[in-house]
Subunit: 167 residues, 2 copies
DNA sequence: AGATGTATGTTATATTATAACAAGGAGATA
DNA sequence: TATCTCCTTGTTATAATATAACATACATCT
């Protein structure tokens, strides 16, 4: 049996994965986090996180508001923005500047400066580990500037869309 | 006479520099570019570029509109956004997502994926060379994703503001 | 029950950006 | 010179994103 060659993967998001498990694990991690930090995991918060987990598609605040309305929640802008702020603060969501949209964090738990790959065709977003991104934050902190945080978003094509475009 | 040790500089923007020369060189480069590409360097375009060059401060579209009004130009939103689009397309300006603001490009001429250092205290922005940024775009293009463009913005403190905060 | 703190709801408005169409002016050409 | 074409600028209206400020509800502790 041949050994697999080492490969670099942007993230599971662009690949098939066991989404049920993925969803459940994330939800459980969120629940656990809230219990540990004595934060309230309310129906509203839970619902919004669920939307974000649903299919890893980034969602705009106003899309989320529509979904909340459909689910019987109040749906004025502050409702969504507050929950999103909460999720971001707790490290379970990120904002994609490029899209003015929000995604569930792919590896929550520790605060980190996320790096995203955004497909310009299907708008799917993959969050990748800093170590795989070709970025060395220490190297970026220079004589003249103390780096505290980084916004890193790569725009391009995911495997599926590359294939389609090549046709 | 001792040799200076090699140092890394984020950019001239955070340092003293001959701003008159800097301003004039940029303006001339822009003029030259327009002649070569047979584009019209109109008073409006020239004025907006001048604002951006003024002191390297990122400017919001509506700030630019105010400045245009003060200079006797028309000042409805499309006026500013169109000129800014023009400058960006021609490679003489960039948009800073973090600030929803625009800056003159520090090394125009060739198209490039700029990397910025944004001081969270004074909002000054330095554009740095990719090679100094600790980022390897080739490394970022992986099996799963074809990188075409990158948005890279470091947030932190510039030398002056670090000093102030340490006090 | 009352006090406190946090979450949610509501109203209004700020900020950023674009669509769609009209008018003006420079240069080419008949 | 007239008019055609192309590009720039001007105008009106509105879309999209986000926050401020304040009111109400609800849980938990006492």
């Amino acid at each position: 049996m041949k050994k697999e060659p080492p490969q670099k993967y942007a993230s599971k998001i662009f690949k098939k994965h066991n989404h049920n498990a993925c969803f459940n694990d994330s939800m459980k991690a969120f629940q656990k986090h809230c219990v540990q930090k004595n934060l309230k995991l309310t129906p509203l918060r839970s619902k919004v996180f669920e939307f974000l987990l649903r299919d890893h598609q980034p969602l705009g605040a106003y899309q989320i508001l529509d979904m909340l309305r459909d689910s019987g929640f109040a749906s004025t802008p502050p409702i969504a923005y507050r929950v999103l702020d909460f999720l971001i603060e707790q490290g379970f969501a990120h904002k994609i500047k490029r899209l003015n949209a929000f995604v569930a964090c792919s590896h929550p738990g520790s605060t980190h400066s996320p790096t995203f790959m955004i497909c310009r065709k299907c708008d799917k977003v993959a969050e990748i580990d800093e170590k795989d991104s070709g970025i060395d934050l220490k190297k970026a902190t220079s004589f003249d500037f103390k780096v505290e945080e980084a916004v890193i978003e790569f725009i391009g094509l995911c495997t599926s869309c590359v294939t389609v475009e090549a046709t």
